[in-house]
């Protein structure tokens, strides 16, 4: 039976695939840990900046003059920072972002959209839909982005906003909720909204602190840092989601390959047994015919 040889080949190739997906799963796990460490390392800094912003925002923003990064504009140009992965084989990670993006496109109908893209998948998607790709940010690739690179991107996007090239800047990325849950998210980076920046309760100081040189100056310095930390955090969240998604999908691929291998082996054994039985019958039949 030729079937037997065929089965043997298939068992072997499924086994090879399983080995590969398992290796990929392990690579994803290791990288995931590294990205989490990187995100954790900058945590204290983000917290300090956020605390400072909150202790100043209330009084600065209640003043007569709204800082430029908080000013709402009437213009019709929207910039969208799209964060995707460079490589595939990460489950529905990119597909989920794109389906959210389609919804955003419907919502933003009538506005002039400019895309700022991170990740190869995103750039080919934007090109495929014939959208306006303003900048493809691939240096360095998302996997290698450190705080300083995120800060540079943040300065670039802020500049696009302050120069008037775009009237608002949105970000479409993947929010990391847990190892099994990541949510494509669309939010407005600029202009900053005053309500979201000011927290309700603010304590800690026993008395009003001295502000040197002045409240405004400190705040103006602080806001760009605040944007940097937010951008870095959301890039790290995207990256973590990507690798968590990749790890899970590689794990299920490994499991599926294992199951398939077991099924094939069962089939193979049955076929082999069948062949032996037929052969035996043949021999017995032959022997009987001779005697």
């Amino acid at each position: 039976m030729a079937n037997i040889r065929e089965l043997k080949v298939r068992i072997k190739s499924v086994g090879n695939i399983r080995q590969i997906t398992r290796a990929m799963e392990m690579v994803a796990t290791t990288k995931l840990r590294r990205f989490q460490d990187r995100a954790v390392a900058s945590g204290p800094y983000s917290e300090e900046i956020e605390k400072l912003v909150q202790s100043l925002a209330a009084s600065v923003l209640s003043g007569d003059e709204v800082p430029p990064l908080f000013q709402e504009r009437k213009g019709l140009v929207t910039g969208i920072l799209l964060v995707t992965s460079d490589r595939g084989l990460c489950g529905a990670y990119n597909a989920n972002i794109f389906s959210l993006l389609r919804r955003v496109l419907r919502e933003q109908e009538g506005r002039d959209l400019r895309f700022y893209v991170i990740g190869k998948k995103g750039s080919s998607f934007v090109k495929k839909l014939g959208l306006h790709l303003e900048a493809y940010l691939d240096d360095p690739s998302l996997e290698l982005i450190g705080y300083r690179d995120a800060a540079r991107i943040s300065r670039f996007l802020t500049e696009e906003f302050t120069s008037g090239k775009v009237d608002e800047m949105r970000v479409v990325y993947t929010k990391f909720l847990s190892m099994a849950k990541y949510q494509p998210t669309d939010f407005r980076l600029l202009p900053l909204s005053a309500e979201k920046t000011v927290s309700r309760e603010e304590g800690g100081f026993q008395s009003q602190p001295l502000l040197v040189p002045s409240e405004q100056t400190i705040f103006e310095r602080l806001v760009p840092k605040y944007l940097e930390t937010r951008l870095f955090n959301l890039l790290m969240e995207s990256l973590t989601s990507e690798y968590a998604s990749r790890m899970v999908s590689m794990k299920s691929a490994t499991d599926a390959a294992g199951e398939m291998q077991a099924d094939l082996r069962k089939e193979f054994n049955r076929a082999r047994q069948e062949r032996i039985t037929t052969e035996l019958l043949d021999i017995v039949g032959g022997a009987e015919a001779i005697s």
């Binding site: 390392a41 300090e48 100081f205 026993q206 602190p209 040197v212 870095f232």
Partner: protein, 157 residues
């Protein structure tokens, strides 16, 4: 690295005569511990902080931070721009949080790299090219110079 791993004083009444200092950068917390006093570069000159200082928020400029540790020893950090916050808790301790772009112990500074950075920045500033970002190049020069000077342990920079 003088990473004195003292537990952060939750009850501020304990160390009335010491400052609780924390220096945070985007990469990590470079220092967390106690100090008798410290001096850091603010925008308009050096600011000295002693326990009991009033609450304050200020901007930090590039420069050398000098800190006197509880055992009397002095330690230094090269700071780049950021923010300084003093939190005075009545009847208790004084916290100093410095949140800066970078904070380095002078011993780990790469002198050659700093020298190269000085040259690069000077060259850029000399080019008179309108395209260059003047304040940024100046900032880079200042950073590199401070890094070099920090090796001499001279806080008068």
């Amino acid at each position: 690295m003088a990473a004195a791993a003292k537990p952060q004083a939750e009850s501020h009444g304990m160390h009335k005569n010491l400052l609780q200092v924390k220096i945070t950068t985007p990469d990590r917390v470079v220092f967390e511990g106690e100090a008798k006093s410290l001096q850091f570069p603010a925008e308009d000159g050096l600011v000295g902080i002693l326990p009991g200082h009033a609450s304050m928020i200020t901007t930090v400029d590039v420069g050398l931070l000098k800190m006197q540790l509880p055992d009397g020893k002095e330690t230094f950090f090269v700071l780049t721009r950021g923010f300084g916050e003093v939190r005075h808790h009545f009847g208790g301790g004084t916290e100093v949080h410095l949140t800066v772009d970078s904070g380095e112990n002078p011993e780990i500074i790469d002198v050659d790299r700093a020298k190269r950075a000085v040259e690069r920045a000077r060259r850029r500033l000399a080019e008179k090219d309108l395209k260059i970002d003047q304040p940024r190049a100046e900032y880079a020069l200042k950073r590199a110079l401070i890094r070099l000077q920090s090796r001499n342990r001279d806080p008068q920079v």
